[in-house]
Symmetry: none
Subunit: 412 residues, 2 copies
């Protein structure tokens, strides 16, 4: 199955928006078993869209077009496609009902422009958009399939996952290759590669492929087999060995996240949790509550950004801060232990550090963080050192704190 | 000057790398005065590169190709281009000297593969790469210019800025095109289009272009002029009118964010701020502290996720929750007013709502939020209704809360 992607939008051409849709579609369709032959980006003008359609090569099985389906004047993709394939537009009742319901639920008035979004080309297969008002469309033209999707990533992705891929799977025999991904945190890519070198060599000799997929704080390890499911057990055995090699780093597989692993453990043991955050400023709490049902274990937090609040609300002894500084082992420990009492939780995790880019000193440079985890029995405290980008530091600090928390709650 | 961009690389097609080069070139060349007609991404195969060269339309003045100039076997762009234009390869002495110097400076051995990087097509103009070993190339073919650049962003950008743009400026009389972008929050794209219809019509009649760029909770409005800076004042006048049309939505221009606008105002008026969050669970605090220097205005927060913490730490009267429910105008108001006292801040903003996907009722559906802003003089309370995706709701809730806060702090 050979695929071409066409992105429509001046904001992409002039670089105001980075084309993440093409990357996401490339990744998703490659995993699905398709081969992306080419992607292009064009202006939202009738003539440009027509030229792109004219230029589709015969070898392509499926063209996926994103963008230009909104309700405003510069959204012309639907009209151009309908005219190009000689189809008339008519109200699509199901889409109209969905749009009406969409606005009703949000207590917002429905405008004529939204009503017109239910006008769809007769003869196309409609791909419902559960996250928005611009439906996707599937056109059969000669032996090719032309798909038109909205450009809003959150809408486009849901249509692809829930509507398009099942239909494409029916239509094409894709040679599904089997792969499984493990998640690690806290070891850099090259250090990890060094540490698991002999494991990786054995795996490659065994006819399997390994890919490293790094992102800030994390490295995913994906094992691929082109023999499909028959290699499943072999791959599982390799991952079991990997768990023994890097227990502090490897935290899960596939859809697991640090938070889902932590949440599962807390719920199993009926433990409640809270945070007392300084440098992470709520990001840790936000992550811990990022899954539905978080109220089963998460109680609340104190974000003691200023020293005044650390003392007044966080109950940290003023002298501790004077003697050790706010970014210190002692203050991190006190924040977690006092926070445990104030919030009335079983486990409290605290962070105090210097996110940067300013505020560092020779002794306590930007990127330094102390993290403490207070439980009924014991308080664990550790420090970590990161770089000098504020955004990146906050991300790394939260990932590190979550992995530290995961490792400790798994011992309970 | 009409430009086409071609990116070469399988890692782009399969979505392992997001194509930031195309966005950067789009932005840089647009500001330079060129018009990007189309961009495409192709595989690093000889036949694919040849097809892309064959397909260049006559209207294009300049094609910029990135990628495939490295020293490894999968880097074939140079060889394909030389063969396609019938040029022989020979050692380019200046480039060779540069590469030798490059390795010497780094105390690294120079490999045969690097020596071969100095083999360049005879007859092309060499664009020196001061940040690496792969030189850029400029080919004149009929009346078109074909440029080949390395794909490493840091190398490519320096060649463009220091070598390519000066040469292009000599060759073309570019009519620098001018654009300015305004940011709005809280009005959907279609509702916004309806509301500013006559403004937009006037603008278009005036020879200007308008683009809507929506993202969750936000719509950017970009006015474009192909007449360059001479339209600057005209565009500013249109934006002034727009500010009067949608004061609650329009919050800034170009690099402004809701937080930067709020922070500026708070610092000017020496006001401190804190948050008391339930459904946003720290995301609001995290946003407010996302810029360096946040400690000049941000003190801290209370994340009272559970009712127990709303009562015990947040000082909300238990009866208020019993009588009205935790998601109510009364509780939002109390959270903000009590939070102001507990945190000792000038302004306190509170959120209480149902992020979902579970927890909604007929009367209080998923997506409902109450937001309160307590100041010394007055407390402002408003409710908003969003959809049923948890992630999206949290994003929308935070954007809405920030814009509500912006609007109120601008009145102070």
């Amino acid at each position: 199955m050979k695929v071409e992607l066409i992105s429509i939008g001046d904001e992409l051409l002039i670089g105001q928006t980075i084309n993440t849709n093409a990357a996401w579609l490339g990744q998703t369709l490659t995993l699905f078993g398709a081969r992306i032959i080419r992607t292009s980006t064009i202006s939202d003008q009738d003539s440009e869209i027509r030229s792109a359609l004219d230029a589709i090569s015969e070898e392509i099985d499926c063209v996926i077009i994103t963008g230009g389906l909104g309700p405003t004047k510069d959204d012309i993709t639907k009209h151009t496609l309908a005219a190009y394939y000689g189809l008339k537009l008519a109200i699509h009742q199901e889409t109209l009902a969905h749009i009406e319901n969409y606005f009703e639920k949000r207590n917002r008035p429905m405008l004529e422009a939204n009503h017109l979004q239910a006008m769809l080309p007769l003869g196309c297969i409609v791909l419902p958009n559960k996250n928005g008002t611009a439906a996707g469309m599937w056109f059969n033209h000669n032996k090719q399939i032309i798909i038109s999707l909205p450009g809003v990533p959150y809408e486009m992705k849901r249509i692809v996952d829930e509507e398009l891929l099942p239909l494409l799977a029916n239509r094409f025999k894709v040679s599904t290759h089997y792969h499984k991904t493990a998640h690690t945190q806290g070891i850099g890519e090259s250090f990890l590669a060094e540490k698991i070198k002999s494991w990786e060599d054995a795996l490659r000799k065994d006819g399997l492929e390994l890919a490293y997929l790094p992102s800030p704080g994390y490295v995913k390890l994906r094992i691929n087999s082109y023999k499909g499911n028959s290699d499943k057990d072999k791959i599982d055995t390799y991952f079991k060995k990997l768990e023994e090699l890097i227990p502090e780093a490897l935290f899960g597989y596939e859809g697991d996240t640090l938070v889902s692993v932590i949440a599962k453990r807390l719920i199993e043991h009926k433990l409640s949790i809270g945070t007392v955050e300084s440098c992470t400023a709520g990001l840790l709490a936000q992550q811990l509550t990022s899954i539905s049902g978080a109220s089963d274990y998460f109680e609340g937090s104190l974000l003691s950004y200023s020293d005044a609040i650390k003392i007044k609300v966080g109950q940290v002894d003023e002298k501790l801060i004077e003697e050790n500084g706010a970014v210190s082992e002692e203050v991190a420990r006190s924040m977690a232990e006092e926070g445990r009492k104030t919030l009335g939780v079983d486990i409290c995790i605290s962070t105090t550090g210097i996110a940067g880019p300013t505020g560092g000193t020779g002794e306590k440079p930007v990127g330094l963080i102390w993290i403490a985890i207070a439980t009924k029995e014991k308080t664990f405290v550790k420090s970590f050192q990161f770089g000098d980008s504020r955004d990146r530091n906050q991300q790394m600090m939260v990932a590190t704190a979550l992995n530290f928390l995961r490792f400790e709650v798994l011992q309970i």
